[in-house]
């Protein structure tokens, strides 16, 4: 009786599916496929070229017995936590300052944002130069008479990671500020009026009312900052090459070095598998909560 046949489930929404082919391809072939491939070969003893000669968990035993890997993990944790906290805090504070209906807002914003236009390579080079003990900040301060002044993060194993952090924050906080500023501008003026009438101090309004309302902004920011943290590589290479010694090594660099310099793909794949694993453990549940459940009625 029904004239229109129920179309097959596959062809419903056909255009959307066709249009999504690049995305599906990227997701499945590149990200999932590449990942599975990487995981598979992490169980082999592939050297320069990938070969399917399985050696069980050997690469992983070796990985976790390697001091450089452990240092890399430690560095990433320090760098990650600090960079997350500082870029959110500084970014938010700058945005809050700019949001005070100040003059020259455009100028200030441009100044805070411009480093973002520069690559990590450039950032690393400039800060390597600025932090050079001879003619950088330390040298200049010393030449001004304070001869005991010591600020030499790039050649001091114990603080080198902070030297990298300084450069990373310089490069990245501008974007965070922009995101936060946009978020602040999106807050209903009435909220501010209400808080003012209630006599809530400004800082409390920010802390207890505005920030909770900016949840989506913080989430977008978190994705951007966190993904950059895990992938940090160029900056370290340009600024310290992992030195002094191996004091500023990071996991991504370990992966790269062992895959290509050491020509030990298996080891590099094992390290990347560990990175992926930790990313997946943290990200996937969150991503499902954030993006998966939302249905529109």
């Amino acid at each position: 009786m029904s004239k229109s046949e129920r179309p097959s489930q596959l062809f419903r929404n056909l255009n959307a599916k066709v249009a999504s082919i690049p995305m599906i391809f990227t997701a499945l072939v590149i990200f999932v496929g590449g990942t599975l491939w990487t995981v598979l070969y992490s169980f082999t003893n592939s050297k320069l070229l990938p070969r399917l000669h399985f050696v069980g968990l050997d690469q992983y035993y070796r990985l976790w017995a390697t001091p450089r890997w452990l240092i890399s993990i430690e560095n990433l944790l320090i760098y990650g936590v600090l960079s997350l906290v500082f870029s959110l805090v500084i970014g938010f504070l700058l945005a809050a300052l700019l949001d005070q209906k100040i003059r020259f807002e455009d100028t200030f914003r441009t100044i805070f944002l411009y480093p973002f236009a520069l690559s990590f390579i450039v950032t690393g080079l400039v800060w390597q130069w600025l932090l050079n003990p001879e003619f950088g900040v330390q040298g200049v301060v010393r030449s001004l008479g304070w001869t005991s002044f010591s600020f030499n993060p790039l050649y001091d194993s114990s603080i080198v990671i902070y030297g990298i952090l300084i450069a990373a924050l310089w490069q990245g906080t501008g974007l965070i500020m922009c995101l936060m500023l946009a978020g602040l501008r999106g807050i209903d003026e009435d909220i501010w009026k209400a808080a003012r009438v209630d006599g809530i101090p400004t800082w409390k309004t920010y802390l207890f009312i505005i920030i909770p309302m900016m949840r989506p902004v913080f989430i977008t920011t978190l994705v951007i900052v966190a993904s950059n943290i895990v992938r940090v590589y160029d900056l370290v290479v340009a600024q310290t090459s992992g030195g002094p010694g191996i004091a500023s090594e990071v996991p991504a660099k370990y992966v790269y070095d062992y895959m290509f310099f050491a020509q030990n793909l298996g080891q590099g794949f094992a390290a990347s598998t560990m990175m992926l694993l930790s990313v997946i453990i943290v990200i996937v549940p969150w991503a499902y909560l954030e993006f998966g459940g939302k249905k529109r009625v």
Binding site: S2, K3, S4, R6, P7, R12, V297
Partner: protein
């Protein structure tokens, strides 16, 4: 009973066939059932209002009819054609949205003609249809403006125009007036009514505003929880609600409800709550009564106030709050310890705490089962 049975024959206006027919329609979002085996037949030229609180599924049902949501089960016929899996554009419908949904980057004229251009209609045909719609809605001077330059009322008129130019048999309205202020709402309500009279199209209109429902509808479908509770002419729904929900939802101020018991004494039925006994001799029972807990409902305007005796039921009560509303006044009382409101004309406004007499005829009341809420 509620409307799960077919009520096609009830069509109030003409009998020139069914325009929209919904059969056993269900819609689930995951585990949540939004619409449950729903049936509805709309006669050609009929104005149906889907009324209910937010979340009752009325807009969802409308979107299913429009083809904007895929149904989980059941079928939808428009003009006798099964359109369950058709694209919206192929269903012969026009739709008006709450937020107007005008394309912001297009002028009014372009907004009106967009669908026609997509369909590939001839230019002169498009122009003819726009001219007609603009004339009907009196928006000719606005044709070259962009939506941002229009007032709310004008925007909604354009939105209606967009449905109009499609030259379709069925108009769907999704709360079209809720974004407007009270005055404009009243004006446009009348216009929609006139428009319906003029076009004689089938219209399905979603709203949560009972005034709109009462004034516009040939029949109202009151919905709750994805189920049509009652489908009837406005007066029937108002006077003989099928259940306590419908009774409470329609009417402002809301119907008075008293929780008590049905009792039979000497062959006569009474509704008893504390020391109040309401005789039910004049009440037309829907089914044979049984003693037990029940709810008695009567609308505030059906209660007489200080009008002496002669009512089947009369009592005195103390005034708690007086709410003057201009044309008349709402008086809040306590009857048998429960809230009770009476609507009186402005001249007869009592003072606070004054003891007043009230009376009514249970003929105009509604009795509901305390457990199921169904009309007794």
């Amino acid at each position: 009973m509620n409307a799960n049975g077919s009520i096609a024959a009830n069509s109030s206006k003409g009998t020139n066939g069914t325009s929209v027919s919904i059969q056993n329609l269900s819609l689930n979002f995951g585990a949540i059932s939004v619409l449950q085996t729903l049936n509805l037949d709309v006669a050609e030229g009929e104005f149906i209002v889907l009324l209910g609180p937010s979340g009752c599924g009325k807009s969802t049902l409308l979107n299913c009819i429009a083809g904007l949501l895929d149904v989980s089960e059941g079928r939808i016929f428009i003009k006798g054609k099964n359109v369950t899996w058709e694209e919206p554009k192929d269903r012969g419908i026009g739709m008006v949205f709450q937020s107007y949904a005008l394309y912001p980057q297009m002028t009014v004229e372009k907004n009106l003609s967009f669908g026609l251009r997509v369909a590939g209609l001839a230019k002169d045909e498009i122009a003819k249809r726009i001219a007609r719609a603009a004339e009907i809605l009196q928006i000719e001077p606005l044709l070259h403006r962009k939506p941002a330059a229009l007032s709310g009322g004008q925007r909604q008129r354009v939105a209606i125009g967009r449905a109009l130019v499609r030259d379709v048999d069925v108009f769907l309205f999704d709360e079209p007036l809720s974004n407007l202020d009270a005055k404009l709402r009243a004006e446009l309500r009348v216009e929609i009514k006139l428009l319906h009279r003029k076009l004689e199209n089938t219209m399905i209109y979603v709203t949560h505003d009972q005034i709109e429902a009462m004034t516009l509808a040939d029949r109202i479908a009151v919905m709750k929880g994805g189920v049509i509770q009652q489908l009837d002419a406005p007066q029937t729904i108002y006077n003989r609600p099928v259940n306590r929900f419908v009774a409470g939802f329609l009417g402002s101020p809301a119907m008075n409800f008293l929780d008590g018991r049905l009792e039979q004494a000497d062959g006569d039925w009474h509704f008893v709550v504390e020391d109040v006994r309401i005789p039910l001799a004049t009440y037309a029972f829907e089914k044979n009564p049984v003693p037990g807990p029940a709810v008695f409902g009567i609308r505030p305007e059906h209660v007489a106030f200080n009008s002496g005796t002669g009512w089947p039921f009369a009592a005195t009560a103390n005034v708690e709050v007086v709410e003057p509303m201009g044309s008349d006044t709402l008086v809040w009382l306590k009857l048998a310890g429960q809230n009770f409101t009476v609507r009186v004309t402005a001249e007869r406004t009592p003072n606070n705490a004054e003891a007043v007499g009230i009376g009514f005829d249970p003929m105009r009341a509604s009795l509901f089962d305390a457990a199921t809420g169904n009309r007794l």
